[in-house]
Every structure is written in structure tokens, then in C-alpha cells.
């Protein structure tokens, strides 16, 4: 179906002092019809370039790429190739052309010169297939991210392709949207035998593949079945990747000689092999004894009382985004805020620095209540970092961008320099970057520079909306580790909005759960995640590890079901297996 023969690709340099970038470095590979292939790789490993070489958006600078016997470098077959091989891109917004769903689905077939009646037939069918038939007349900006990507896929289906390439198409979606898209491509592969090439850095998405390829510096460094790939945990880590949490857990247990066998990929497999080493027994219900609870007796830095926010009141678009939320945020805690898209998370945090004014109720930040006079002071106290903060960089140099906020504070030059230096240290950025243009940096660096611009103001409270969105596993890990460091060394209170339950569970002291603008729960991760059914109703998951242990306990095995992280899980299992765990239920907590 697709064949790479010794392919090289380099991006031309844009200036004299900028070297050419070797994006693809000798790839020879064959993808067969009907395969489901997942390509993994850290940011900048060349995987997106691979995708663009497949449908002749880019032409190889060395070697040849063949699609169904057509050479992409021969210009005349280009439209045939693109018709055969459809591509879904990363940003759902930037690939929808038309003002209504229907017109957008028709865009491809129109370009191919298909007859109007036939187009009608095809797009109706495609819309039904992806479950968007009720949204035909809708404007694309009213859709959710997952829906937009489904529209993009339907638009390609209407061109009757044999292969669909998804270039990080799930990376900007929330878990719900990601699941929608993944379920859809899996069905397409199974029922219609459409070849799927899924490019991603979400490891869990690779589990269902027929074959996984791992890319780094323009080469395919590993390939094989998901089982084979995920057994090489250390090699994956070197490539800036990780393995799914259950795989990691079983890997570590194997290392300790507790379990045997091949690589574990799914929760079910892990459950089975753990059942093999555990003996069924009675266990008293575990009492959660969280040290973090003591923080509740600490000092509240933010007091929110009956906070309600209504957007566009009095119009047909009126929407209650927050409904009587009351809570305290303690000085020095790390709080996670979870809830599905539209639950009011962003609205809530925008009240913290006065971007939004309460419709009713009150919010008091370190003694300050909202009024236009204290906005400046409030915004110095509360640093708010939006999703994809790198999109706000604008200055000529990194240094100027970082100090943008500081210049408004009338600080002496020396103090400014000192602060910048300190922030660079926390974020692990080198001082050489300061004189560069922010637009020259890599994605991960840009993100950190943008975060630096807020940190230099030395806020007492730092709020981050999805700080790891679009970052690969290594990048995400780094973000959370410097946040913890900041919290520990400066005592900064940190609020994190995230969809990633594993990170939230591992790093937060408390979690606030929002649903439809109301506060559903506010407690320690352990307590919050013990309500699996309740969270499920809100469209939220619990960490995979916790689910594994709940399942085991449900089947009558004597494990503590409040385990949250891999290291806790390893302790728990090895404790039980070595026979000490019987009477010390919950000792690790």
C-alpha cells in the first residue's frame, strides 16, 4: 500500500546561520493494506514529516515514496494519491473550510468533480457513519473538538479513500473527544478495511495497533507489535516516550520477580496476571488516612462564596457557567480542578485574577475582593497561564517577552535580571535563549518561556489551564516536576486544570470536581477517586492503577483499592505477596 525506499527529507534553511534540518534520515518501510499502524515519537522526531511525505504534501529530497504503486515525486499522480490517502490534521479548527458541516463534507468530492447527486449521497452516508448527521446545518465553531475531528474524518470518507493518516489528530482533544475519534478509526479499520496510520504521543492509543513504529531524529528506531515495543521500557524512555501505566506497573513487578510473562498492555491482562499471584482473602474496608487532609486546617488564601457567573445575561445566548460555587483554597496547596469540557473550570479560574466579574456571590483572594481598582495588584498575586500559552509570545527576544509583565511593576533593572535568572533555573532553560527570538524556539521551549513570563511576576497563586496539552510524555513530566519544585521551594499555591487523571492523582493535594457549573466534590485525590461510579456519571475517569486495584478488590482479592500511583501499587503488591500485607492493610498510606 505504502512504501518508503531509503527516504531522506531536509527542510531548507531560512537564513544563512540556520543549518538545514534533516527531518527524515533514511527510512525504508512498507505498510500493508488494511493495517492499523501507530507511529510514536517525541515532539520533533519527524513523524509529521513522514505523514506529509505519504500524500505528497512534501516530496522526499532523497529516495522515493510509493502509494499503491504511484511514485509521489511524479507530479501527475498527486491528486490520485491524495484521493487514496486522506489526512486528518492536528488542529481541528484549521482544517474545516466551509461555514456549515454539510458544505465542509462536500468540499473533497467537489474538488474531485463528483456529480452533485452523488455528493449528496456520499456525504449523507459519511455523516451517518461518524454520527454527525444531526449537525449537518451547524456552523463548525459550535462543535466540540471531537466532533470537529469526526467531521474531518467524514469529509475524507466522502472521497472514498483506502487509507487515512491521522497526524496527532487526538492531541488537542479532551479524553472524551479522543475516545470518540479512536473508536471511530478502529471501526473504520475493522469494518471497512481502511488502512489507518495514527501518529500520536499518547501511549495508550498504541495498544490497539497491529504494528507500532517508534521514531526519533528522523529514523524508525523500533518497530513491532505493541507487546514487543512496550516491553522495551528503557529504550522508549530514552526516546522521550513512556509506556501505559499498567504496563509500567507490571514491568516493575516483573523486575522484582513478583510476576512473570510477556508484556502487559491492558487493564484486563494486568488483572489476570495479578490474580495469578494473589490469594483471595477477606480484607477490612480500608480507611483513608491522608496526610494532605491536614492542609484543610491551614490558612485559606482564596475564599469563594456562592460564586455564580452568567454569560451574556438577558440574551438568547444566556448561559449559567457557574452556579453557587463555595470553596476555600489553602495557602501552599496544589489543587487539581477536573470536570469535562464546559463544566465551568475555565470560568472559575478566570475569577481568580479578575478577568471575569462574579454575576453574584463573592471571591476574596488574599484579602482582596474584586473591584476595578485592585485589578493590577490582584493580577500580580495571581498568575494565570492559559492553554497553549506559547501562542501569546510576541516580543523580539525571549528576554523582552519574559519581562513584559515586570516592566509594568516599576522594578529596578537589577531586580528584574535577578528574577529572570531565578525563573530560568526553575524551568531548566538556558540563559543563551534570552537573546533569541521566541519564534525560533522548539514547542516545549516556547511553552516554558511563556510560563516564565508569568513566573517572574512571582505570583503567590499560580493557575494553569491544561499545562501539558500537546506535550510529549517527557515534556509533560517535566512540567509537573517543576511545578512541584516551585510549590516546595517558594510555597506557591498552585491550581491545575487537567484532563490527565494520572498526573492529577500523583501531584495534587486536593481535587475539586466541577460539573455543570457546580462543585461536585472537593477532597484529597484518594477520597475523590474512591467514588468511581459518581465520577463516571460526570464523564470522568479514575487513574488506571486505581481502577485495576478496585477491580481486584471487587473480585475478592485482599488489596487496598485506594492506590493511586505506580510506586504505591508496587509497594502494595510486593507487601502482600511477601506475606506482610495481611494484617497491615493500608499501611503504605
Amino acid at each position: 500500500m505504502i512504501e518508503f525506499r531509503d527516504v531522506y527529507f531536509e527542510y531548507g534553511s531560512q537564513s544563512v546561520d540556520q543549518p538545514v534540518t534533516q527531518a527524515i534520515n533514511g527510512v525504508t518501510e512498507r505498510i500493508c493494506e488494511g493495517e492499523f499502524v501507530v507511529v510514536l515519537g517525541r515532539n520533533g522526531s519527524g513523524k509529521s514529516t513522514m505523514a506529509r511525505l505519504m500524500n505528497a504534501l512534501l516530496l522526499p529530497t532523497g529516495g522515493t515514496v510509493w502509494v499503491e504503486g504511484m511514485n509521489t515525486s511524479e507530479g501527475e499522480m498527486i491528486w490520485e494519491i491524495r484521493k487514496t490517502l486522506g489526512m486528518v490534521f492536528q488542529n481541528p479548527d484549521n482544517q474545516i473550510v466551509a461555514t456549515t458541516v454539510e458544505e465542509d463534507l462536500a468540499f473533497g468530492p467537489e474538488n474531485l468533480g463528483v456529480e452533485p447527486l452523488e455528493i449528496r449521497k456520499r456525504i449523507d452516508e459519511a455523516a451517518r457513519y461518524v454520527g454527525m448527521e444531526e449537525h449537518m446545518g451547524h456552523s463548525p465553531h459550535m462543535l466540540s473538538g471531537g466532533q470537529k475531528q469526526r467531521v474531518a474524518i467524514a469529509g475524507i470518507l466522502a472521497m472514498e479513500p483506502k487509507c487515512i493518516v491521522l497526524d496527532e489528530s487526538t492531541s488537542m482533544l479532551d479524553p472524551r473527544g479522543r475516545k470518540e475519534v479512536l473508536d471511530l478509526v478502529r471501526t473504520l479499520n475493522r469494518d471497512r478495511k481502511i488502512t489507518i496510520i495514527l501518529i500520536t504521543h499518547h501511549m495508550e492509543e498504541a495498544v490497539f495497533a497491529d504494528r507500532v513504529m517508534v521514531m526519533d531524529s528522523g529514523r524508525i528506531i523500533m518497530k513491532g507489535t505493541p507487546g514487543e515495543i512496550f516491553s522495551r521500557v528503557d529504550q522508549l524512555k530514552e526516546a522521550g516516550l513512556s509506556v501505559p501505566h499498567v504496563t509500567q506497573l507490571m514491568h516493575e513487578l516483573k523486575f522484582r520477580g513478583i510476576v512473570r510473562g510477556g508484556t502487559t498492555l491492558t487493564l484486563e491482562e494486568a488483572e489476570e496476571s495479578l490474580k495469578g499471584v494473589l490469594v483471595k482473602a477477606e480484607r477490612k474496608a480500608d480507611v483513608i488516612q491522608d496526610s494532605a487532609v491536614t492542609r484543610e486546617s491551614g490558612e485559606a488564601i482564596v475564599r469563594i462564596r456562592e460564586l455564580t457567573h452568567i454569560y451574556m445575561p438577558g440574551t438568547t445566548f444566556e448561559r449559567k457557567a457557574l452556579d453557587g460555587v463555595s470553596m476555600d483554597i489553602m495557602k501552599g496547596e496544589i489543587m487539581g480542578i477536573i470536570g469535562h469540557t464546559g463544566s465551568g473550570k475555565s470560568t472559575l479560574v478566570q475569577h481568580l485574577n479578575g478577568l471575569l466579574k462574579p454575576t453574584s456571590g463573592s471571591i476574596e483572594v488574599d484579602g482582596l475582593e474584586y473591584s476595578s481598582k485592585i485589578l493590577k495588584e490582584l493580577r500580580q498575586k495571581v498568575g494565570l497561564i492559559f492553554q497553549y500559552p506559547e501562542h501569546q509570545l510576541f516580543e523580539e527576544t525571549v528576554y523582552k517577552d519574559i519581562i513584559f509583565g515586570l516592566t509594568k511593576m516599576e522594578l529596578p533593572e537589577e531586580e528584574i535580571r535577578k528574577r529572570v535568572k531565578r525563573v530560568l533555573e526553575i524551568l531548566g532553560l538556558s540563559e543563551e535563549l534570552l537573546e533569541k527570538s521566541p519564534f525560533e524556539l522548539s514547542g516545549g521551549q516556547k511553552r516554558r518561556v511563556a510560563i516564565a513570563g508569568v513566573l517572574v511576576m512571582e505570583p503567590e497563586i499560580l493557575v494553569l489551564d491544561e499545562p501539558t496539552a500537546g506535550l510529549d510524555p517527557q515534556g509533560s513530566e517535566e512540567v509537573f516536576s517543576f511545578l512541584t519544585e516551585l510549590n516546595r521551594s517558594n510555597g506557591t499555591t498552585i491550581l491545575i486544570i487537567s484532563h490527565n487523571m494520572d498526573y492529577i492523582a500523583a501531584y495534587c493535594d486536593r481535587i475539586a470536581v466541577l460539573n455543570n457549573g457546580s462543585l461536585e466534590m472537593l477532597d484529597t485525590p484518594r477520597r475523590v477517586f474512591s467514588h468511581e461510579e459518581r465520577l463516571h456519571k460526570l464523564g470522568l475517569d479514575i487513574p488506571e492503577i486505581t481502577r485495576l486495584f478496585r477491580n481486584l478488590k471487587g473480585s475478592g482479592y485482599p488489596v487496598n483499592d485506594h492506590v493511586l500511583t505506580i510506586s504505591e501499587a508496587v509497594e502494595e503488591i510486593s507487601g502482600i505477596v511477601s506475606g506482610q500485607g495481611w494484617d497491615k492493610g493500608g499501611m503504605i498510606l
Partner: protein, 269 residues
């Protein structure tokens, strides 16, 4: 939230106006607007107003919606009307020092007011009954003959529809960037005019950067879906000049004849 605003204000419906070919709607809107400028007697105003009111009834658009377009113009309307009241010379009604309000002034202010209202309503009748897509389609077809003299009709229409598609997206983005910069201490509301204009640089630069990036990605996505200009392209929605358009056009011509016919009659009388 800006994101909720529907673009092009189209209100779905099944009326004759909704079903007409966008081309005939565009032509007739232009003709009506010209007519609104030409009329100048109160009889003509009455006929014109009645006709537009009739169209409004036919269109099934709530009156409130069609008048919405006037709201942002209220200030301009008021200023022009007031200027007219004070500066048109004629029979004085009230005299306040150097300021004089004349009979003619009031008449002309009232007429101007109605003229502008009719203009806005006529124009919004079209935008309220035509989807932006149909409108650009209509414009493309109307410009088709000009392609022979080198006017890129298809490209212009494509650009217009993409612009329509991205306006809400870019508005959301602007809001987001402004909030982000405000969180970093940017201040958009105080200071001198120069300072305020300058404070928009942190918004404009990222906005442009992202707009170019979007343009880039969109072009790539369009190419990947086999877009190669207007040639050989078919359309899902065909627009046809139907018997309905013919009837509507005849009605329109009849109306214009009555409107300007009355002018000859009153002249003769």
C-alpha cells in the same frame, strides 16, 4: 461569549425569499437600495415603506430581528437627523439665538431617518434569508463572465467564504489573547490614546502569527483534500434561476413601475 454569535445572521426559513436564487436576491437588493435613494416625495416613501413591510411579512422574519441591524446605527442616525434639523434653511419654526429650527429641516430629518431605516431593513432582508455560503456562491456565479477578462471569480468567492468561516474563530482567539496578556499585566483601558493603541501590540502580534499559521495549515488541509482551484470543481448545492425567481422579478418590476409611475402622476397633477 463571542463564540455564540452566529455569523451572517441567517435565520432558516421556508419563505419565497429564502428559496430565491441568491443572484436574484443580490440584484434586487441593489435595485431596492438605489430606489430608496431616488425617492423623495412622501407618497413614494409610503409606497416604498409598504413594499418593504410586505417583503418582511413574506419573509417570515420576526420584525424585531430585521430591526436589530439599526441598533448600532442609532447614534449615526441621530447625529445626521439633528444636523439636518439645525442646518437646513427654510421657514423658521423655533429660534434660539443663532440656532434656528426650520419646518424643512424637520421634514428632511424625518425623511432621512426613514430612508436609512429602509436601507438597513432591505439589506438585512437579504442577509437574514441567505446563508453566507449561498451568498458567496451567488457572487461567484455573477462574476463568472468576468473571468474571461482575468478576474479570479472563484478565488474571490473562496476567500470570502473562508473569511466568513474564520471570523468567529479569530474573534475567540482575540478574546483569549487579550485575557492572557491582561493576566500578564497588560492594560488596555487606561492611559492616553497613543498608549492604548500601543497596548494592542501584544495582542496583534500573536494574532497575526496565529492567523498566518492557520492560513498555512488550512492551505495544507485543502491541498490534502485535492483542492486545485475552481477548474473541474462541482458543487453540492446548485443554484438555479427558477420560475419563482421569474415571478419575483416580475413582481419587483411591477413595483418599480408603480413607484416611479406615481411620480409622473403627481407631476402631471
Amino acid at each position: 461569549m463571542i463564540g455564540n454569535i452566529t455569523l451572517g445572521q441567517y435565520i432558516p426559513g421556508e419563505s419565497i425569499l429564502h428559496k430565491m436564487d441568491p443572484r436574484s436576491k443580490i440584484i434586487w437588493t441593489v435595485l431596492l437600495m438605489v430606489a430608496v435613494f431616488v425617492i423623495n416625495t412622501w407618497q413614494e416613501y409610503v409606497i416604498m415603506g409598504a413594499f418593504i413591510a410586505l417583503l418582511l411579512v413574506i419573509s417570515d422574519i420576526p420584525v424585531k430581528q430585521s430591526l436589530k441591524g439599526i441598533k448600532p446605527l442609532v447614534l449615526i442616525l441621530a447625529i445626521t437627523a439633528i444636523l439636518n434639523i439645525f442646518f437646513v434653511k427654510g421657514t423658521p419654526l423655533v429660534k434660539l439665538g443663532p440656532v434656528m429650527i426650520t419646518y424643512e429641516g424637520i421634514i428632511s430629518a424625518v425623511m432621512l431617518f426613514f430612508r436609512l431605516v429602509m436601507l438597513v431593513v432591505a439589506a438585512s432582508l437579504m442577509t437574514l434569508t441567505t446563508t453566507p455560503m449561498a451568498m458567496t456562491d451567488g457572487i461567484e456565479r455573477m462574476m463568472k463572465p468576468l473571468e474571461r477578462v482575468g478576474v479570479p471569480a472563484h478565488e474571490i468567492a473562496m476567500m470570502m467564504s473562508i473569511a466568513l468561516r474564520f471570523i468567529p474563530t479569530l474573534m475567540e482567539e482575540t478574546e483569549r489573547i487579550m485575557k492572557a496578556q491582561a493576566s500578564r499585566g497588560a492594560d488596555f483601558d487606561t492611559g492616553s490614546l497613543f498608549k492604548r493603541v500601543k497596548s494592542f501590540i501584544p495582542v496583534l502580534v500573536p494574532l497575526f502569527v496565529s492567523a498566518f499559521k492557520r492560513a498555512d495549515e488550512l492551505a495544507e488541509a485543502m491541498e490534502a483534500r485535492c483542492y486545485r482551484g475552481g477548474r473541474g470543481r462541482t458543487r453540492l448545492k446548485q443554484i438555479h434561476f427558477t420560475i419563482l425567481d421569474l415571478k419575483a422579478s416580475l413582481a419587483g418590476i411591477l413595483f418599480l413601475m408603480i413607484l416611479f409611475g406615481s411620480r409622473f402622476l403627481t407631476n402631471a397633477g
